[in-house]
Amino acid sequence: MNPVAKILALAIMISLAASPALAAGGHEPEKNDWSFNGVLGSFDKPALRRGYQVYMEVCSFCHGVEFIAFRNLTEIGLTEDEAKAAAEAVQIEDGPDDNGLMFMRPGRLSDRMPSPFPNEAAARASNGGALPPDLSLITKARPFGPDYLFALLTGFEDPPEGVEISPGMSYNPFFSGQQIAMFSPLYDDAVFYEDGTVATLEQMAEDITQFLMWTAEPKLEDRKRMGLGVMIFLVILTGMFIAVKRRVWADIH
């Protein structure tokens, strides 16, 4: 084996040995085969819409998605009228008007989706001292991202013997420290899907994960599609560079 290969092998072994340490805090979630994984990955459009419904009917009472505007909802399959209707259903503070007063008005497409609490203190006061994080970036802000989220949402269980759970907390093996201030938010038939999909716990967890992967990485499909073209171009270009180099050096070696 040449030295470079030896070093590489050693580096891989060391990093494998070291990787469990990175998962410290919670159990490592199982890897799922998401539609958005892989070179040609894309979002599951119907799942995005269902995930949006789960967000609106369950999550949005405690968690915001501050980086998503109503206009963005057309990207997950809502028509412009539906997105407009969703915007108009909420009241947004605007102003000051000509008299210097702030006023409330129905939302517009350009407005961000409002967060459920006006500030952190209000959010903590309503949640027993815990702060429900904004979910816009949650699938990129946690190790194992979407796999973690799915495992967390489906992973609530009774604490094992001998584990004391503080009042107002739930046991979840995937959460860092195993105690989480959120009660299992999803249960079978927590929502009713218009498209006839049966709203099992797993189904809803899958749908909300799709939706929150989109809120975190809305350009994922553009990125993967462009990436394929760029990679093909670069492989051809590199091949041409190699051919040119061989040609130039042909009479030298």
């Binding site: 050693l10 060391i14 340490a21 802000a141 990125r223 590199t238």
Partner: protein
């Protein structure tokens, strides 16, 4: 058009408008003499000599993407995180530009490390190229500061806490430490004031890097490239013109480099980043685990290997400063490790040691990692302070070939190049 500095036949004669400009500003001849047909280059350079041009390309990519990002970035504690998300969502191709910039920094460091290890293996830092080496180290130091200040700009959790940990190191300085830290912060805590000056430094330092890189190449062009045999060029039979031979060879490297960068950008853009940096900075909540980007992990491991704060800072600073003395610590007259059987073994041990330091830096300093980190740190310095001089004294190098051309062209079987 008599030229007092060069023989007439070396100067390219140009007609028309180009000739008019050339007479007044001889840029075509400058290119010809520096990367063209009139720059003799050792004919035996292998692909390890590609990383200089690739570093230049990486620097160019970082500057171009960085200038565009800065058009949209808001350097305030309140606005920074949201402005980065606006780049990712609302700026046309902002996601692409930011991912290229972030991953570009990683491949830039990878290229620089390979460039430095090349120098260690083939003794490129030795007489008469000590100043080429020094200038490279200055670039490396400026890169570290630039990368660190850049890591802080998104103002996520890791940005904030990395800034806190690293700026606090100055407090280890006796007597004036605390004053220096507050001077760095421009405040009594890490906040918007620090972010503003880091933004300014992150924009300014790459300009300095470009300047030092030009001097690095100027110094290189005086004695020209070292080569895998580490012996002097004896005549024209040992060299090939840079163009087209090494421009063609460098382009192959460019293709591979762009494939690696594109692979990261399009298919694993966040693999080398920390998830915590997608959480907005929160001064009240320390992350479980504060880590720098991968390319600074070995230095972070050295910092933490010494139980004393000031000692750690001295060790980390020393780990870079000692590199400046390497041309004199290495007492061997033979440059290339190819002819140094003992040094070659220690070279690979050193590579492994830096990898171990990187892994230690990524892990929390507890349990066995502490002692592994301390041993690896000790070995890092031991390599430079003891092994380099002693091996140079006791080793009997293999016989050197008479010349590059006899080695490459003459007896093909006996002088065949080992696989690189």
């Amino acid at each position: 058009m008599a030229d007092l500095h060069e023989p007439e036949h070396n100067k390219m004669q140009l007609k028309g408008a180009l000739g008019w400009v050339e007479y007044r500003l001889p840029w075509v001849n400058l290119l010809k003499n520096s990367v063209g047909t009139n720059y003799p280059t050792p004919r035996n350079l292998n692909y390890w000599w590609n990383f200089g041009s690739l570093a230049g390309l990486a620097l160019l990519i970082e500057i171009v993407t960085g200038v565009v990002l800065n058009m949209h970035y808001v350097p305030t504690a309140e606005g920074a995180f949201a402005s980065v998300e606006r780049i990712m969502r609302d700026v046309n191709f902002g996601w692409l530009i930011r991912y290229v910039h972030a991953n570009g920094a990683s491949v830039f460091f990878a290229v620089i490390y390979l460039h430095m290890f090349r120098s260690f293996y083939y003794g490129s830092y030795k007489n008469p190229r000590e100043l080429v080496w020094w200038l490279g180290l200055i670039i490396f130091f400026l890169m570290i500061i630039t990368a660190f200040t850049g890591y802080v700009l998104p103002w996520g959790q890791m940005s904030f806490w990395a800034a806190t940990v690293i700026t606090n190191l100055a407090s280890a300085i006796p007597v004036v430490g605390t004053d220096i830290v507050q001077w760095l912060w421009g405040d009594f805590s890490v906040g918007g004031s620090l972010l503003g000056r880091f933004n300014s430094l992150h924009y300014a330092l790459p300009v300095a890097i470009v300047g030092v890189a030009v001097i690095h190449m100027w110094a290189l062009h005086e004695h020209r490239s070292n080569n895998p045999l580490g012996i002097e060029v004896k005549g024209p039979q040992d060299t090939l013109p840079f163009h087209p031979y090494f421009t063609a060879k460098d382009l192959v490297g460019v293709g591979v480099f762009l494939l690696v960068l594109a692979g990261l950008v399009f298919y694993a853009p966040n693999m080398l980043g920390e998830p915590d940096n997608y959480i907005p900075a929160n001064p009240l909540k320390t992350p479980n685990h504060i880590v720098p980007e991968w390319y600074l992990l070995p230095f972070y491991a050295i910092l933490r290997a010494v139980p004393d704060k000031l000692g750690g800072v001295i060790a980390m600073g020393g780990s870079i400063i000692i590199l400046f003395v390497v041309p004199w610590l290495d007492t061997s007259k033979v440059r290339s490790a190819k002819f140094r059987p003992i040094y070659k073994q220690f070279f690979w041990l050193f590579v492994i040691d830096t990898l171990i330091l990187g892994v230690v830096g990524a892990n929390a300093p507890e349990g066995n990692w502490i002692i592994i980190g301390q041993l690896a740190t000790f070995y890092y310095f031991f390599h430079f302070i003891v092994i380099l001089p002693v091996v140079g004294w006791i080793e009997s190098p293999k016989p050197l070939p008479d010349s590059i051309s006899t080695s490459v062209l003459g007896n093909k079987k006996s002088a065949a190049e080992p696989a690189e």
